[in-house]
Point group: D2
Chain length 323, copies 4
């Protein structure tokens, strides 16, 4: 790999013989965005999707929304969004349709199911999968979309509900580079940086690895906090010391604070980080690469799920250590 930085752009070049086959790009954090005049569709108004759509609207995009439970759309319609009745309708009405749902099965159903996206895809239309799924699902979706003449980009995001609301997500894109360029105003609206990582599947791979690291970090923090308590130490002091050292990070600070306050309101669902760990482990499996830390973390999250923490924040893995 060759990495070149020019202005706010990062070019990741994988040298195969003498040909560059990948390039990366990073858009700026920018108050003055000129919104694309293309019609934008958005499927899925969960923790992440809601903030993204708000920011798209705020920056002047024309957005048609759809959600499995339709009531969630009302708020966005009041903010100026249009209502799509089915994924197929949204895809056929819009130039660029984004999807942001919970897992590989939901992402696949949205495209392939009855009244699915595929029925609305025509040559030239763009479909952008923002869900964090496995590379195989991305490959499959890319194939079916392009087989109908559509253009496909994957663009999973690193972040949380808060960062989504703040338009500060980090976006990992891969697939059709022209789609990436066509929706640059969208990515500027929702994120602080975006990376273009080459062929479809690479963003899924990278995102799963990042979330794997996050899941293992979170379990480790919970393990530290509970061991402090179990050995008679102050958890607050433990956090104070941790925040004085080199491991200090926004993540460590916020998650610990929330745990100490007993606040497990979801910023990122525990069930989703467990799904990400599972997919990352499986990706390691395919690559014959051991991931013992992720494997250990995955078991702790499974215990947390058995304790009914699925719909709480990932920090609720803490409870797997005290029950």
């Amino acid at each position: 790999f060759l990495i070149q930085i020019m202005g706010n752009q990062v070019f990741v070049t994988q040298v195969t013989g003498s040909t560059s086959i990948q390039a990366a790009d990073s858009t700026a954090i920018n108050g003055s965005i000129t919104p694309t005049d293309k019609r934008i569709g958005f499927l899925g108004l969960g923790l992440m999707g809601s903030g993204i759509v708000s920011n798209l609207l705020k920056m002047g995009h024309v957005v048609t929304v759809w959600n499995r439970t339709a009531e969630k759309c009302d708020l966005f319609i009041q903010e100026g969004a249009r209502l799509g009745r089915t994924p197929a309708e949204v895809a056929s009405m819009c130039d660029i349709t984004f999807s942001c749902v919970s897992d590989p099965k939901a992402a696949r159903d949205l495209v392939l199911g009855p009244s699915g996206v595929l029925q609305g895809i025509r040559p030239g239309k763009c479909y952008i999968e923002m869900s964090t799924v496995d590379p195989e699902t991305i490959t499959e979706l890319s194939q079916v979309i392009t087989s109908r003449g559509g253009r496909f980009l994957e663009a999973p995001v690193a972040g949380s509900q808060q960062l989504s609301n703040d338009g500060m997500l980090v976006i990992l894109a891969a697939g059709d580079r022209t789609v990436y360029e066509d929706c640059s105003s969208c990515f500027q609206a929702m994120g602080k940086t975006s990376f273009f990582l080459g062929e479809a599947g690479n963003a899924a791979r990278m995102m799963l690895i990042l979330n794997m690291v996050q899941g293992s970090f979170m379990a480790t923090i919970a393990e530290g906090l509970t061991l402090a308590q179990a050995t008679g130490q102050s958890q607050q002091t433990f956090l104070d010391i941790l925040c004085q050292g080199q491991m200090a990070s926004t993540f460590v600070d916020q998650k610990c604070q929330n745990i100490l306050q007993g606040n497990f309101k979801p910023d990122y669902y525990l069930k989703h980080i467990q799904k990400d760990l599972r997919l990352a482990i499986s990706m390691g499996d395919t690559a014959n690469h051991p991931t013992p830390m992720a494997a250990a973390a995955n078991e702790v999250y499974k215990r947390a799920k058995a304790l009914d923490q699925s719909d709480n924040d990932i920090s609720a893995v803490y409870r797997a250590y005290i029950h």
Copy 2:
């Protein structure tokens, strides 16, 4: 626990009935230190000890040094230190003797062995154990020192060779509070903050938990970097993305940079973090508290040790993932 912050002091109060039995203190980062006029002894000039002694000398302390391999003392004698021939001699010549060695056995031998510290302890003399050891060892050392009329403090440090050189360590102290106060100029010289955590053993407990977290973080980072490579992703891009997100920290950044540069020069020995993990797991054992992340990490470090990485930096755990 009750935590009160007054100026740059943190008081950790554990309420038992109505009596406060613990207090914490944090000294300022302070250019103008008035060095104590007490004679300081220092045993152990390893990665951490060397930087500490330099800073003690720089801030005007009178320091007598001893090291198992005597040549290491020369440099410090040139900087103004005196030479002690045995641990016993240092302890008997000095008012306050610090020790900073590699593991519980070395710490115990230094005190109890032939020509050991214990033979130089007289009523009123202070002994400060800075090695990261288990709470049982601290309890034992505290007992033997105080049984001779000595005063005992444990003061393990969080940090690395670099932070030690920079006088930016975080110091966790526990034991005899009067010792903590008597050597405040020493702690100011070597660290950016110090915490006083109550009875002897608490600092060992807290330090082991911190290092357990650090060890698991490090293994997780190595797991992420290697999985990126195994799945065809750029490790540099992985790091760039990581550093854009909430998990960004000095630790993540420095360790990844070093790995990408193939630089495994020890800032903290891999064999020592493995020892710390072992001791933390054992502490969890005593408390009937599962530590599955630490247990997984410990096995990865054991593999790294089997690959001859003991004397490299903790980041060399990376090699356990690629061999």
Copy 3:
């Protein structure tokens, strides 16, 4: 559950209200088998399939075989088997078609792919899936076969190449009970016992759990043998002592013997036990049930795969401990 034993039959009854919805059956080890006059098809002549087909032929069944690499069929044609050109042809020529392939993808492709089984299925025809796959795959195959009027049974087997050759497999069957009864002479030919476990999917679940236990046992044995060596003990004496105690079993004895002789000829492929562990862990995932032993074992097998042991026996996990 209610378990009743009558003669050599085991009835597993799950009481829901007052209705029995499951029943189990166990066929005898029986030298005098009257072979069914139904035409038998067999797809997949790997380690397990080869022995099964030999025993079907020996006991007088009329068998048509197909294998992805056709040369493997020759031997069986010499023993009296007929050759099928495609899975579709075998299914359409035979009354009862068995399949025994390596993993869920291969099992699904065999049915759904070009010239696949599905194209040969007509009302009344029986399809018996003997591959060890996940319950979801079984459910899917069951649905497509029955949607064409076919009758579906799953019948994964516990055992090894040796037991397959000896006709001593243990067969777990579930799905359409009439199929189970129609091919009882086949099961008598290949196995020492068969269990009927109710609705399709149950045999896959049970088999995955059994193989999960086997995979963890095998990794544990390898861990013991290598720790013996690493601490200066005789591995042979370790085995001798193990075989004197209550943990003694054919499995422990044979696997240890093979390891001590450096014989890793596949009796059951290492890559297959790793696949089974993965599927069992995933099944636990769906059920929110932690499986930390399987998770640890899975990582050890992944390391063994990275060391090129995929096509060796499961006992080659030993090598993951010594490299």
Copy 4:
């Protein structure tokens, strides 16, 4: 290593240059034992010690017993044993003193504590440590006993309360071979086989590895049984199938039966197998040998201990999987 079998004797020979430095021996299961006329002492009447002493008495040995809680001695006094008031007294009154207590600390205290064995040791007296402890403890005890002119043997046993009662233990001995020979009638009375493994420490090592394997097997079995339940399968059928296959063993059968009956009466204490796992992991640590299965098992047992299962049988690890 060279292994020779002559009659019922096994000779383990480690060839260093041309000198044999180890030898192993196996005594027969023998109804007609001629009891030694040496006076036998026995310290520790727990699960294992009780059965051993009964068998020593039954076979005609003269035995003096001591136990921390003296009431347990009464039963044996009725059977003909004499009462010792302190470990020191027993050691000074007897020619050969056995000890069988719970962990390294108890074993060390018994010898080194007030009124300890050491005070009764005179030149020629034999001390046999039967507790399962770490090799370091054995080395230490061997040194102190021999420094007083005593003769030292370690002789930990593989088995359970039932096997102890039945005189069917497997004995691993190492240390002073003359002691091993002098008490052969004792080993014949309590065990079905004994092995002599060379220098002191080897029996501890071998026993820890065996118990490590046992602990991992037990956790694996519990994981299988609970996953069966969590996925709707009959646990009894699971056991039936397991017992038809090559993994069938007395251990698997008995432990599963007990679990299915909810019988967790201790045959071997859960807290002791956890202690053994801890010591085995630590031994691997010293040898730089990863033991990921044992590490995973250890965490499950720690959870079981947190659920108050310490004084139940090892099979109570089952409860860590269902709570």
